[in-house]
């Protein structure tokens, strides 16, 4: 295959992954690395570099919507970014020393865990009786969001900020190590530790994703992991595909239809684990 031939193929493959991700509501980033490594045999370090570009592009592209939706809690996002960015820098430093087969195994495991929110509804729509902790009170993290179903703005409080920070450090570390947004992990820690309403936690997590990814992306760029010929077409394709998937194609809100795709995703996760356990990818 020629260089530009590869670029064209990578663009369309990434567009497919982006569209598929948008349709079933899973981040495009988590599909890019399996696609590049399992299908194209790209080295996982190059795949991680490319995948981070996809995460940054998706998150930055959605930044305009965040002002309109009034769901993102900017204060919570910024406070937690201290932890995710620290975690990402740790992960980026570690990643050069993690054996490649272990990266595959870990990736597969994270992909499988990411499917859990598709199966069961996690978190609470609007947690009741949340008592803000000292940090939350000092930084005035509590806020409100518009909920048409309840008719008007709904106020909420935020609690256990230190526990949330600890979880976010882990989410940032995973994000850097595997080149994913690790959105499901962020939502878990915001929902369970800090008890944010579900809509607020997922919007805030999307908001933070780009900044977290940028922290490790700069390190990987210096390391030569961001291959222009892989990252360029992949980022373009994934963003175009996601836009197409969410606008032109139908968003699959029907849970039954979404569940039909779960075995495919689970199979990809298992394949990644198998490749890792077999010591592949070096």
């Amino acid at each position: 295959m020629t260089l530009s031939g590869f670029a064209v193929v990578a663009f369309f493959a990434a567009a497919g992954a982006g569209a598929f991700g948008a349709m079933i509501g899973i981040g495009g980033g988590i599909l890019i690395t399996p696609l590049l490594t399992l299908v194209f045999g790209v080295h996982i370090h190059f795949a991680i570099g490319a995948s981070l570009m996809v995460v940054i592009a998706t998150s930055s592209g959605a930044a305009a919507a965040f002002v309109r939706d009034h769901l993102t809690n900017l204060r919570v996002g910024v406070v937690l970014e201290v932890a995710t960015v620290s975690g990402a820098l740790t992960g980026a430093a570690l990643s050069a020393h993690v054996p490649v087969p272990l990266l595959f195994t870990l990736f597969g495991a994270v992909l499988l865990v990411s499917l859990v929110p598709q199966l069961v509804k996690l978190g609470e729509e609007l947690p009741e009786g949340v008592v803000p902790d000292a940090v939350s009170r000092y930084l005035k993290l509590g806020s409100s969001y518009p909920d048409p179903a309840r008719g008007g703005d709904v106020a909420y409080e935020v609690t256990r900020v230190p526990a949330g920070l600890a979880c976010m450090y882990g989410a940032g570390l995973l994000s850097a190590l595997l080149g994913v947004g690790s959105g499901p992990f962020k939502v878990l820690s915001m929902d369970y530790a800090m008890r944010l309403p579900m809509k607020v936690s997922s919007a805030t997590s999307n908001f933070m994703m780009g900044v977290t990814a940028a922290a490790s992306a700069w390190v990987y760029f210096d390391r030569g992991w961001v291959h222009p010929l892989i990252a360029g077409p992949t980022a373009l394709g994934a963003v175009a595909g996601a836009a197409l998937g969410s606008r032109v194609l139908v968003k699959l809100t029907n849970r039954t239809v979404r569940l039909m795709f779960l075995p495919v995703l689970a199979w990809i996760g298992v394949e990644m684990i198998r490749k890792g356990l077999a010591g592949g990818g070096r």
Binding site: F46, S60, L74, S216, L229
Partner: protein, 128 residues
């Protein structure tokens, strides 16, 4: 509060514009690649084979922003694509810098300081 909202909206627009700009630069680089190729992008003519090697095995494309600018100035396909990627990677930094200004404008010292520390952490990654 109104000013803050306006600033936020403007930042949102800058970020979206930045994504479009980055995409255009990457497309320009890919067109260049199709027209004249770029020897710095692969060790062999078979691109897919070159990608299976670890980056540590030796890559010949630019790895620092300065080298990327130089390669882009020489109108090399790889350098131009990388310039687009660098634009993309700068957007989250712009986002955080704008957040610092936002909290300063609202006279929220603690929040501005927290946002500033995120900016400092990000620069550790960029400058190491």
């Amino acid at each position: 509060m109104e000013d803050a909202n306006r600033l936020e909206r403007r930042v949102g627009m800058i970020l979206r514009g930045g994504v479009v700009l980055a995409a255009l630069v990457i497309v320009a680089g890919l067109v260049l690649l199709a027209l004249r190729g770029d020897p710095a992008l692969a060790t062999t003519a078979d691109a897919a084979h070159a990608f299976t090697q670890a980056p540590e095995a030796g890559v010949r494309f630019a790895k620092t922003p300065r080298a990327v600018l130089a390669a882009a100035a020489r109108v090399e396909a790889g350098g131009v694509i990388q310039l687009g990627l660098l634009v993309l990677m700068t957007l989250p930094v712009v986002r955080v810098a704008a957040t610092v200004l936002l909290f300063m404008a609202e006279r929220e010292a603690a929040m501005a300081l927290i946002a500033f520390s995120v900016l400092v952490l990000l620069s550790f990654g960029a400058l190491d």
